[in-house]
């Protein structure tokens, strides 16, 4: 029996094991929606804005490891999704986006709702396709999932003109695999590199493991834990890597970088051997490149050769799947004697004793750090926490101690405000058995509040922890430090009544103004298992994120709360963001 292109597309998604699609209909995808309507195996979540669809699919992927799928129409449908696609791209998150396109005959004619989707997304996808023939559908979908989920993952877009969804053909079976002569995925690394790395590790007197998002995306956390414990080395994790190694373990020094801990950054600076696993030496992590790890030999493990020596020249580059490379290193290190590093640990303990995450409490004022600590306590550290972007994101990363992977979900690379709420919805759909909290601020949340409506329709109970300080806090902090307190456009007057807003969407709203109400409110929120609860928590508007490496400084030049209240920056630093 002949099937139309839309049915073939939906059947292909079914064969690919897709259970959920986040999307929004429109003219160019009406046939696909018609085919979806007849498909019981796939649940479609109707978002309220296409950016929300992309973020929700992204959150779904990050929480579950399964490739999320987004379906949008042509023109504004795909342009709205672009921010979400770019967000996934910057954090190497696998995702397949299907966008409708105007009929083939109209492409290039400035047709209604026409946009060059392949052109617009080119620089923020791992790859994209324009389907030109109904017979290409199955292979293109197979290729898209293969490319999105293998190697260094990333989003892949498939643009499909409407006439191709309407045309009919005798369907071909969905392929089990796909051959691409131009796309090979590195797996096991060269054993000579493993041996060289092992020799270097065995000589290290001041070693440190620096691990990142690649260990989560590559499901390498067991190997990372075994490797680090076997050697007894200190480990620091990037913002994207939190949870791969348990934060509460004694070998963990916490996060490194701009708002990392003092011990992590000092240890990086003084290390003689850095084992970098699934990281990309991002500018938030390295601080001033010229002052980065001045005494260290660097071993870099990454699946993407273009990440190696991109920002920092490394001594041993190991291209391969981080999971396999770490397993090979674990075996190799069993045959090696390593150095006594007890002196190194005493030095690290001294840095730890600075207690760089300590903060001053003020009577009658809720400190944002306290909110995250209380959230951690109430959820016993087991929730999935998504965040938006800004101060609250840093506090969540610093004070919620992630012991498990895929529990911390944030836009690290692109820094997309508005990410948190739809990502929380996607995470809840992927992991309904887990508590999901969205840590946000009154600035970020207003970029995506419309998804509260989706969350009611699909019953995805999320606890929204809104750190409401009335300011775009991170902007305000930089203006305080580096622009002589000229608070240009960082204060938002006329905020909505968030309690009523939540209620109008059918959820529960709770306003928290006093510190003594904080814990009871959080307990109450998580008791409401089946309800989304919006906690609008008024926090200290003057609080800053510490510790901090100001732009242009090195890891050893951190500013600590209380000690260095007023930061300064050199001219080079001001050029950075």
């Amino acid at each position: 029996m002949k099937l139309n292109g839309a049915q073939i597309l939906v059947n292909s998604l079914k064969s690919e094991g897709v259970k959920h699609i986040f999307g929004y209909p429109g003219g160019a995808v009406l046939h696909i929606y018609d085919a979806l309507n007849a498909c019981d195996e796939i649940e479609h979540i109707l978002v309220r804005h296409e950016q929300g669809a992309a973020h929700a699919a992204d959150g779904y992927t990050r929480a579950s490891g399964k490739c999320g799928v987004t379906l949008v129409t042509s023109g504004p449908g795909i342009t709205n999704a672009v921010t979400g696609i770019a967000t996934a791209y910057m954090d190497s998150i696998p995702m397949v986006i299907i966008s409708g396109q105007v009929p083939s005959a109209l492409i290039g004619n400035d047709a209604f709702q026409e946009v060059d989707a392949v052109g617009i997304t080119r620089s923020c996808v791992k790859h994209n396709f324009l389907i030109k023939n109904i017979n290409q559908i199955v292979n293109t979908i197979k290729k898209a999932f293969h490319i999105a989920t293998t190697g260094r993952p990333g989003p892949v877009l498939i643009d499909i003109p409407k006439d191709i969804t309407i045309a009919t053909v005798e369907p071909k079976p969905y392929p089990n695999s796909v051959e691409m002569r131009s796309y090979q995925v590195p797996s096991r690394a060269d054993s000579a590199k493993i041996n060289a790395a092992a020799d270097l590790i065995a000589l290290a007197k001041c070693p440190i493991v620096y691990s990142g998002g690649g260990c989560i995306i590559g499901n390498a956390y067991q190997e990372l834990r075994a490797f680090t414990r076997q050697l007894g080395f200190p480990i620091t994790q990037t913002l994207m890597g939190l949870g791969a190694y348990p934060a509460t373990d004694k070998q963990s020094l916490g996060m490194l970088g701009m708002h990392g801990t003092y011990e992590a950054n000092m240890a990086m600076h003084d290390a003689d051997c850095v084992i970098a696993a699934g990281v990309r030496f991002d500018d938030r992590v390295t601080a001033n490149i010229d002052k980065f790890c001045p005494n260290a030999k660097i071993i870099h493990i990454d699946i993407d050769p273009s990440s190696i020596s991109k920002n920092v020249a490394v001594d041993i580059a190991i291209v391969g799947d981080v999971k396999l490379v770490l397993s090979d290193l674990i075996v190799k290190m069993k045959t090696k004697f390593i150095q006594d590093i007890s002196l190194w640990w005493s030095q690290i303990d001294q840095w730890r004793s600075v207690n760089s995450l300590a903060y001053q409490t003020k009577l009658g004022i809720i400190k944002p750090q306290t909110v995250i600590e209380t959230l951690y306590e109430v959820t016993k550290g087991n929730a999935i926490v998504t965040s938006d972007v800004g101060q609250h994101q840093m506090w969540a990363a610093q004070y919620y101690h992630f012991d498990q992977p895929r529990r911390w979900i944030n836009s690290g690379g692109l820094g997309t405000m508005g990410f948190g709420l739809p990502a929380a919805m996607g995470a809840k759909i992927a992991k309904p058995e887990l508590n999901v909290a969205c840590v946000t601020g009154e600035g970020s949340i207003q970029m995506m509040t419309q998804e509260l409506s989706t969350m009611l329709q699909y019953a995805t109970p999320v606890k929204i922890v809104n750190l409401n300080n009335g300011y775009l806090g991170m902007v305000r902090q930089w203006q305080e430090f580096f622009y002589e307190k000229r608070y240009s456009m960082s204060y938002m007057d006329a905020l909505p009544n968030f309690v009523k807003l939540a209620e109008s969407y059918g959820h529960i709203g709770i306003k928290v103004e006093k510190e003594q109400d904080l814990k009871p409110a959080l307990i109450e929120a998580f008791k409401q298992k089946d309800r989304t609860v919006f906690l609008d928590i008024l926090t200290d508007p003057t609080e800053n994120v510490f510790p901090m490496i100001p732009s242009g400084a090195g890891h050893h030049e951190m500013l600590l709360a209380g000690r260095d209240e007023m930061a300064s920056m050199n001219d080079d630093g001001l050029n950075l963001v």
Binding site: G119, R122, K126, I147, S182, P305, S306, K310
Partner: protein, 165 residues
């Protein structure tokens, strides 16, 4: 330093814009770019000349390799190679200048591909430097149009651009 990068890629719509887009998005320089299908019509060969230090060239090669449509990238400059570029130039000629132009045409072994009453169309193939030198020897005020193909190149002897290392 000047590098000639040869890229073997899928002959598909959009492949050129992926490469060109990569250069502009990452701020890499392109001096010239040529692209045409190979004897296998499913493949294209693109040759790019870029002036950058070795570190940047390494980044360019890595980023090109990352593109899904790209099959093989070779920095020709790192191997023994032959490069050629084709020039077509139209110049005004008159009785005073004719002798000098004819002398240049002979000196550079150019071909005169079209002659009209007062215009010569001249063809010259060679290394870019040779073409630059030839153009520099012409009287600039007499040059009407210049069209150059950009560089193409090939590895010498046993090294291949298509198969093997």
């Amino acid at each position: 330093m000047r590098h000639i990068i040869s890229i073997l890629l899928e002959n598909e719509a959009g492949a050129l814009s992926r490469v060109a887009g990569l250069f502009s998005a990452r701020g890499f320089n392109i001096e010239s770019l040529t692209v045409v299908a190979t004897n296998d019509s499913t493949l294209s060969r693109m040759t790019i000349v870029s002036i950058a230090d070795d570190g940047i060239i390494e980044k360019i090669v890595k980023q090109l390799n990352k593109l899904i449509d790209v099959i093989k990238v070779t920095d020709l400059t790192a191997t023994e190679h032959i490069e050629r570029e084709l020039l077509l130039v139209k110049v005004n000629v008159n009785q005073q200048t004719q002798v000098d132009i004819n002398k240049q045409i002979d000196a550079f072994s150019c071909k005169l591909v079209d002659v009209s009453e007062d215009i010569y169309t001249i063809e010259l193939a060679g290394k870019s430097k040779k073409i630059n030198d030839f153009l520099a020897n012409l009287d600039a005020s007499k040059i009407l149009d210049v069209s150059r193909t950009g560089v193409t190149g090939i590895c010498m002897r046993n090294r291949n651009l298509t198969k093997g290392a």
